[in-house]
């Protein structure tokens, strides 16, 4: 296969870049070793930062966030819930930081409005009664799945190609350039190659590994962050703790749920990461200081992502293991000047979901200058189209549609989140348009299936049975996929298993292991 630009990684950066380049008329192929948003883009807080969180640690990034925040609210409103945000301090918090906060925001051009703690508690009744200060900011929430899927869909409308389950395994060099990129299809085991004029490494936390395959070096460390999803929505707005960033200090609403986070734990590798019991306890204990209900509410899922921290290790920050002090700004690396590195490799890593568009724009500018293309960036003005492909990730949407158009034979496969057969049909059709391989986990990624209180106990097998009936699964595919799907769900339940969740997990294991014997099967 031949293309002008090959993008490695289909996170928000890779998909955003694909759209940017496709809109400029370039031919683009995106290869992703797993699926869209399999990395940090699928494991983040979904907060469209106002920037106020970074005023002290990284004022430049803070200002950038605010500009992009305003822009995305204009251009991709269907991916965003414009909730607004609060910064709150409780008794015992650093009063100097509280006092300096408005001025620091002003210096970064981030608007804030002070509100009386009593007024804040009227706006958000779950807030602690020991509030001492509160400020309103421009925070909002963003659905990262919708964002990436819509970016990719629009890129594809403009000719871009997406290859999922396609891992870059190596590069062939000629005259100091990458002439050929080797791809392994993770499902079929087949290998192929792609010839590209420019290769963009948008592999997020794996950017160092990918660069290494091409003989380039990126100094990189990894910081894992974990997040908890509550069963119901506890706040209307984003609620941040008004202090230097630390554990468990942000509660972000997301449709019908709230998401509490996060942590910062140094890990050796971005692969095989889990939210841990100790992190869960730390997040809850901290979060409960702002919102006491967090100590007793039911959590339905935990997940985590890895932040790539680019640059040499700073002994001061690594000592106390707190990587939050390291800049969250992005790194755009042109490997041309690096001895021994290929001249047509560009790396874009780090940054934030909030600034993905800007990161894509800067990267695309560099790509175009290398290719002698003069077309300018359009993503700063052209609205992001709302596509069907990404529709069903929105909590509450599937039930609304189902209730509105309830046809008697359109049965619900997922009763917790009310996802019906026709919704699954649409998702399957979308997947088939990509590469024709519907998979339980891929459908889970694109819908609310498995994300409700039953955590996949019932809907997993209902979905598998339905896919067999529709001819999408053959042989022992279903068994293998059930195992993969339930294991994936388990990663997010395992640290939250007490009280009701534990009872639910016992039922899940009783049926899937006690009765079906899934643990005894030899498949993956």
């Amino acid at each position: 296969m031949q293309t002008q630009v090959l993008i490695i990684g289909a996170g928000v950066t890779g998909t955003g870049l694909a759209r940017d380049l496709a809109l400029r008329g370039l031919s683009v192929v995106v290869v992703e070793k797993r699926d869209v948003n399999a990395g940090a883009s699928g494991g983040n807080h979904g907060l469209l930062h106002s920037g106020a969180r970074y005023i002290a640690s990284d004022p430049a990034a803070a200002a950038e966030c605010h500009i992009e925040n305003q822009r995305l609210k204009q251009l991709a409103p269907h991916c965003i819930e414009n909730t607004g945000g609060l910064f709150v301090a409780v008794a015992g918090d650093d009063e100097r930081y509280v006092a300096d906060f408005p001025e620091m925001c002003r210096r970064c051009n981030i608007p804030v409005r002070q509100v009386d703690p009593k007024e804040a508690r009227e706006m958000e009744p779950t807030l602690s009664d020991s509030l001492i200060a509160a400020y309103l900011v421009d925070d909002a929430t963003v659905d990262p799945f919708k964002l990436s899927l819509d970016n990719m869909a629009d890129a594809r409308r403009h000719g871009a190609i997406l290859r999922r389950h396609s891992r870059v395994t190596g590069f062939q060099m000629a005259q100091g350039r990458i002439c050929r990129t080797a791809i392994l299809d993770e499902v079929t085991g087949k290998s192929e190659t792609i010839d590209a004029d420019v290769v963009v490494n948008a592999a997020g936390a794996w950017a160092g590994v990918v660069a290494g395959l091409a003989g380039a070096t990126i100094e990189m460390r990894y910081s894992k962050g974990s997040l908890l999803v509550t069963q119901s929505r506890l706040c209307e707005r984003v609620v941040n703790r008004l202090r230097m960033p630390t554990d468990g200090d942000i509660l972000v609403p997301g449709g019908t749920v709230s998401i509490l986070g996060t942590t910062s734990v140094r890990v050796d590798s971005p692969d095989v990461i889990y939210p841990e019991v100790q992190e869960v306890d730390a997040i809850i204990d901290q979060g409960a200081a702002m919102i006491p209900q967090l100590a007793v509410t039911r959590y339905i899922r935990a997940y985590c992502g890895v932040r790539p921290l680019i640059g040499a290790d700073d002994p001061q920050t690594s000592e106390d293991d707190d990587d939050r002090a390291v800049s969250r700004g992005f790194a755009l690396i042109d490997h041309t000047r690096e001895p021994g590195a290929p001249s047509n490799l560009i790396t874009i890593s780090g940054g934030k979901l909030t600034t993905y568009r800007l990161m894509a724009e800067k990267t695309a500018d560099l790509v175009c200058s290398r290719l002698g293309v003069t077309a300018g960036c359009r993503t700063g003005v052209a609205a992001l189209p709302d596509t069907v492909e990404a529709r069903w990730t929105e909590p509450g949407l599937a039930p609304n549609v189902w209730l509105r158009q309830k046809a008697p034979d359109d049965m619900l496969l997922c009763e917790c989140e009310m996802v019906s057969q026709s919704v699954v049909d649409e998702i399957v059709a979308g997947l088939q348009a990509l590469d024709g391989r519907p998979h339980l986990k891929a459908i889970g990624l694109r819908s609310r299936i498995g994300k409700g209180p039953c955590q996949g106990t019932f809907c997993s097998q209902r979905l598998a049975a339905y896919l067999y009936d529709q001819g999408h699964l053959q042989g022992t595919d279903g068994l293998a996929q059930l195992r993969v799907f339930l294991r994936e769900r388990w990663r997010g339940q395992q640290p939250l298993l007490w009280d009701m969740n534990l009872a639910q997990a016992e039922l899940l294991e009783a049926m899937h292991c006690g009765l079906f014997g899934l643990e005894l099967e030899k498949s993956p």
Binding site: Y274, E276, V277, Q278, D281, I284, P408, D409, M411, L413, F458, Q461, R462, A464, A465, Y466, Y468, D469, L473, Q474, G475, T476, D477, G478, L479, L482, R483, L486, R487, R489, W490, R491, Q494, L497, W498, D499, L502, A503, Q504, A505, E506, L507, E509, A510, M511, C513, G514, L515, F516, G517, L518, E519, L520, E521
Partner: protein, 435 residues
């Protein structure tokens, strides 16, 4: 503790109180009735509907090897040697045999016989296309084991509107082990739309509905040696339903378990609910025990729901069959696991981080599944020093520590056997009390 503040009314008293209506509680009530004990049974009968209705004794040992057990009796003997703290090891094989046989005889005389195989464990198809190892199966499933052993050509039927059950999926999953399976999808008599197994089973209790099913099946029988259907062949008249279908079709007909809660669990619930009172057990089904304490005379005093009209029950002795987390006999918060009624000591891993493996399907089984109430040789819950907490409190079923019924595939067997042991000890205690 009196939750509502109202005075409990309508005092009842008995010799033996059985708390719980899962397999362990039901079996305990049966054994108590057989011993002629004056028994009250309290519990919510929701959970037993979730049980598959298959009677497992031991299907896997050792768990870490995932090694299937062919002869459960030989397997239990090995298990008791390897895991001397396993609740089975509190009993000898003959006692376990007697307990299980008593229950199977009860099923038989209740019109719902179970089939066992002379060779030991049998294999049953599941909706995901695996084969499950079990000991006794409802008679409605017997022909399935027969057909499997012969690899006989079988028609596998599913119904439009029944979610989570696909004949295609079962046939595809088993194709390498049993190629002669032909799936077919039919419309259930009475029309389209979403189907529920309980309604289907009740519908098939009626001969006219069966006749329609027979008519729908007929065109698909060519070359078939047996017909497999989801487990919906009647709620109360399973023998009649099965015999009727078999004679009309001229072929053996068998059931395959569905997802839970399934009809095979509901049948057990109905059967116990109807038969136990007739045997002298005083039932307080759909009641929850709110509080339990030792009364001054050494007996047990219980307060039972409904909360707005709580009642008090006095008992000389009690058998605790309240199950685990799903049954609500155990409860966990972030800090630890407790027993919900008596606050009994619970043997458990040292902290929450070691409750579960990171992999759901880890071959070792999750350590928390072996947490539970420890008992002495008489099935009395013990404290950290191994001394009985109460001389008149006994425990049975999945609440017991040092077993993993899910991975060992011993749920019903363990419930039945330990219920037998606990009731026997309780009877002995009561006898001494009155002598």
């Amino acid at each position: 503790m009196n939750v509502s503040g109202k005075q409990p009314s309508c005092d009842l008293s008995c010799d033996l109180m059985i708390i719980g209506t899962g397999m362990a509680g039901m079996a305990a009530a049966l054994f108590a009735a057989r011993q002629g004990l004056d028994t009250i049974q309290v519990g919510l009968t929701g959970e037993i509907g979730f049980a598959s209705g298959l009677i497992d004794l031991l299907g896997v040992h050792p768990v870490a090897q995932g090694a299937p057990v062919d002869d459960p009796w030989e397997g239990i003997a090995r298990l008791c040697r390897d895991e001397p703290h396993h609740p089975y090891a509190r009993l000898d094989i003959e006692t376990i045999r007697t307990a299980v046989q008593t229950l199977l005889d009860f099923f038989e005389t209740s019109g719902y016989p179970h089939a066992v195989s002379e060779r030991g464990n049998q294999r049953v198809m599941t909706p995901v296309g695996t084969l499950k190892t079990t000991y006794a199966v409802p008679h409605t499933m017997q022909a399935g084991a027969w057909a499997l052993a012969r690899q006989a050509p079988c028609l596998l039927v599913d119904f439009e509107g029944l979610k989570g059950y696909s004949a295609r999926q079962i046939a595809a999953g088993l194709a390498d082990r049993w190629p002669a399976l032909t799936p077919v999808r039919l419309v259930f008599p009475g029309g389209r739309g979403e189907l529920y197994v309980e309604h289907m089973a009740r519908a098939l209790d009626a001969p006219a509905v069966r006749q329609q099913l027979v008519d729908a099946l007929r065109p698909h029988l060519c070359g078939m040696a047996a017909v497999g259907l989801p487990a919906v062949l009647g709620m109360y008249r399973t023998r009649e339903v099965q015999a009727d279908l078999q004679s009309s079709l001229g072929l053996p007909v068998f059931e395959i378990p569905t997802m839970v809660p399934g009809v095979t669990g509901l049948r057990l619930r109905e059967l116990f609910e109807q038969r136990l009172p007739a045997m002298g057990v005083r039932p307080l089904f759909q009641h929850r025990v709110l509080a339990a304490r030792r009364s001054k005379d050494g007996g047990m005093a219980f307060t039972i729901a409904p909360e707005d009209a709580p009642r008090r029950i006095q008992a000389r002795a009690a058998v605790l069959c309240t199950g685990r987390f799903f049954g609500k006999g155990l409860q966990a918060d972030r800090g630890g696991i407790r027993e919900t009624l008596f606050g009994l000591p619970v043997a458990q891993p040292k902290d929450r981080a070691s409750w579960h493996h990171k992999d759901l399907l880890d071959v070792q089984g999750h350590p928390i599944n072996r947490a539970g109430v420890e008992v002495d040789a008489d099935f009395r819950p013990v404290d950290a020093q191994g001394r009985p907490v109460h001389d008149n409190l006994f425990a049975a079923g999945s609440i017991l520590a040092h077993q993993d019924w899910i991975r060992q595939k011993c749920g019903s067997g363990l419930a039945i056997a330990t219920a037998y042991g606990a009731v026997k000890s309780a009877a002995r205690f009561l006898q001494k009390l009155y002598s």
